[in-house]
Structure formats: C-alpha cells, structure tokens
C-alpha cells in the first residue's frame, strides 16, 4: 500500500494570491507560508481526500492539462517533502 497524505480542510487556510503565488495563513499552526505552484494545488487536492503520490499526480495532470504523469509524480514527491516539513500535509 503506497503511503498516503492528507491536508487540513480548506477552511483552515487563508490564501491570498500575490505574483502568482499563494500567501497562506495556516490556522492550526499560526504560520504563514508562500507557496508556488504546484504546492497550492497539491494542498487543495489533499483537502478533499487522502491520496498517494500517483493520485495527486493524476489530479494535477487534470488541472494543468498535461499528460506526462510520471514526470509530475517526481515533482509531486519533491513538493510533498517540503509540504510535510512545513506541517501542511501529514502522512496517514
């Protein structure tokens, strides 16, 4: 069973867009993060359901209208490490 991740519900984040980035206030931590794509999209995907890396990649592929899911998965794995370190996503 591949490792799955989960983010807090959208209502736990206040997001303001600046220069194409999301300035996010994360309510449970009281910490502000600046997120560049595709980190905000990953958070949104994980707010609805727990997903593994491939599941996230599939979500992003649909959203960004791009096909190469393998490449996306590599990027997603990278981003998940950062998001997990920031406490914005957690393993379940």
């Amino acid at each position: 069973m591949p490792r799955r991740y989960r983010a807090d519900p959208r209502s736990e984040r206040i997001s303001v867009e600046m220069e194409g980035m999301a300035v996010i206030y994360h309510r449970p931590s009281g910490i502000t993060h600046l997120l560049a794509a595709p980190a905000p999209e990953i958070l949104d995907a994980l707010s609805d359901q727990a997903l593994d890396v491939d599941g996230i990649a599939a979500c992003l592929a649909a959203e960004f209208e791009i096909a190469a899911e393998d490449e996306i998965a590599a990027v997603v794995a990278d981003r998940l490490i950062e998001l997990e370190g920031a406490g914005l996503v957690a393993r379940i």
Binding site: M18, E19, M21, V23, Y25, R27, I31, T32, L34
Partner: protein, 287 residues
C-alpha cells in the same frame, strides 16, 4: 523611584527611574503630551542601577521593565534619557499586540498617510522629520501602528531621534525649544531628540488611511522601482516585530496593506532629491 507617565498615540507608558535626571529630561521633551488614558499605563519601563551600589558609584543605567533584554549593556547616566527612549521602544517591539507594528515612519497629508520603511540608515526617520516641518503631520519616525480591524494607521509621535548630520538639518527648520539635550558618544553617534510640532501632538488620536508606501535607500543615484506584491509582503513581515504574534489578524492586516497601497523602492543621493521624489509620487497617487 522617580516616576513619569505619558501617552503617545494610543499607548500609555510609565517610566520609573532611580535617578531624577532622566525623568526631568522626559518631562521637558514630552511637555504638552497627555497622560495615559484612565491613568493606566500599557507598559512600564524601569531605569535602575545594574547593581545596588552602582546608583552612586560610576552610575550606570540598566533598562528594565515589562519586557527586557537581559544582557543589554547598561548606559551611562548622562544617557539616561536615551535609555528611557530605548526602553519604551523595547516595550513596543516585544509587547505590542493591539496593532500590527511596522518599523516605519509615517506622515499624513489630506487625511492620507505616507509610510517609509527600511533598515536604520535608510533615512526614513530624517525624511519624516523634514516632511513634518514642511506641511505634513508627523505621525511617527520609528513605528507605524496598523489597526488590524480598520486598516488605518495610528499615530505614535514619539520625540524624533536625530542622528549626527540630521541634527543640523532639522535645527535649520525647528525652533530650539523643541530640541532635547545633545547626547554625544552614544552607540549611534551624536543624538538629539526633537519634539514633533504641537499640531502633530494635538492630533495624535486621529488615525488615517495609508496611501503610499516607500522603501527608501540613502546614498545611491536617484532611482524609482516598482516592487512585486510577494516581495513587499515578505519584507514587511521582516519589518514588523509582531506579525507572527498577531496570527490571523496580522496576516489579514498585512495582506490588505500590500494589496491596497501603491509601493515603490526609491534610491536617493541626498534629502533634497528624496523630498522631490516624494512630491512627485505623492502627486501621482493623488490623481
């Protein structure tokens, strides 16, 4: 304990001193200021001998109070007034929770506020003091207080701390009775404090909306640059001593400021050039 109380904008202070001299200096420079609202000070500062016997023997002033830096160097008694000023700054930097506190100067005209922020030496304080003598209302040379609910800037018109060359510059503009004593050999060189004009003190309870934000830089050729929102946001979080402590309210207040207030970085070779740039940008944004 010799005691002094004052209200500066929305903030009441109580300063206690083991010696009479710093209190006398505070009373002189803050002549005409009101006392704390309801007689209740938001913050307490204490000027004490570092050790009991140092009250008389080579007296040195330790800055204590509600919020302290435990290892700070005590100051010479002749700089006791400066110690009081630093103590009040420290309470604001470490303890202020009602307003988003920006390390910025603020001046107002026609009900709109010009904010200038930047590191020490950028000139924000001197420029604000000069503008304060030339038709603008000085709201503060050190801290700008952003109301998280209304987004308005509240005045915090402390005595302006003038350094070195800025002293002569302002002596040409303001009458001698508004100046404090000359303090030489301080960590920042020679200092003199200037009481803001009487109208700035009388109107200190009038907040106003921010209309222009500048990041000045002294000592470079004249230049005006736009800045991206994310960069402004991050730089302001670093210019604020309490952004994180205010939580969601701080985030909302800062995001609103960044989204609504036109912002420029400006470089200037001398204050005349800076004032010209301010005039130009102010006229532009007022259109």
């Amino acid at each position: 304990m010799h005691s002094f109380t004052v209200r500066i904008g929305p903030v009441g202070f109580r300063v206690g001193s083991a010696w009479p001299r710093p209190v006398a200096a505070l009373e002189a420079i803050y002549a005409g200021y009101p006392g704390p609202r309801d007689g209740i000070a938001d913050f307490t500062v204490r000027l004490e001998p570092e050790r009991p016997w140092r009250r008389f023997v080579r007296p040195s002033v330790a800055i204590r109070g509600d919020f302290i830096l435990p290892d700070a160097v005590p100051m010479a008694l002749r700089h006791g007034f400066l110690a009081a000023e630093m103590g009040m700054n420290l309470q604001m930097a470490l303890g202020q929770r009602r307003f988003l506190l920006l390390h910025a100067s603020a001046v107002e005209r026609d009900g709109r506020v010009l904010l200038m922020t930047g590191e020490s030496g950028a000139g924000k304080s001197t420029l604000a003091a000069l503008l304060g003598e030339r038709g603008w209302r000085l709201m503060g040379d050190e801290f700008a207080l952003v109301d998280p609910v209304s987004g308005l800037i509240h005045a915090f018109p402390r005595a302006v701390s003038l350094k070195n060359a800025a002293i002569a510059m302002l002596r040409a503009e303001a009458s001698e009775d508004r100046f404090g004593p000359e303090l030489d050999g301080t960590p920042k060189g020679t200092l003199r404090h200037l009481r803001p004009r009487a109208d700035a003190v009388a109107r200190m309870d009038e907040p106003a909306a921010p209309a222009l934000l500048l990041f000045p830089r002294y000592g470079h050729d004249r230049a005006i640059r736009p800045m991206g929102e994310a960069e402004i946001f991050v730089r302001l979080t670093q210019a604020s001593t309490n952004y994180v402590a205010l939580g969601e309210a701080g985030h909302a207040a800062l995001a609103r400021l960044v989204k609504t207030v036109p912002t420029r970085a400006i470089d200037y070779p001398d204050s005349a050039a800076a004032l010209a740039i301010v005039d130009m940008l102010w006229a532009e944004q007022a259109r």
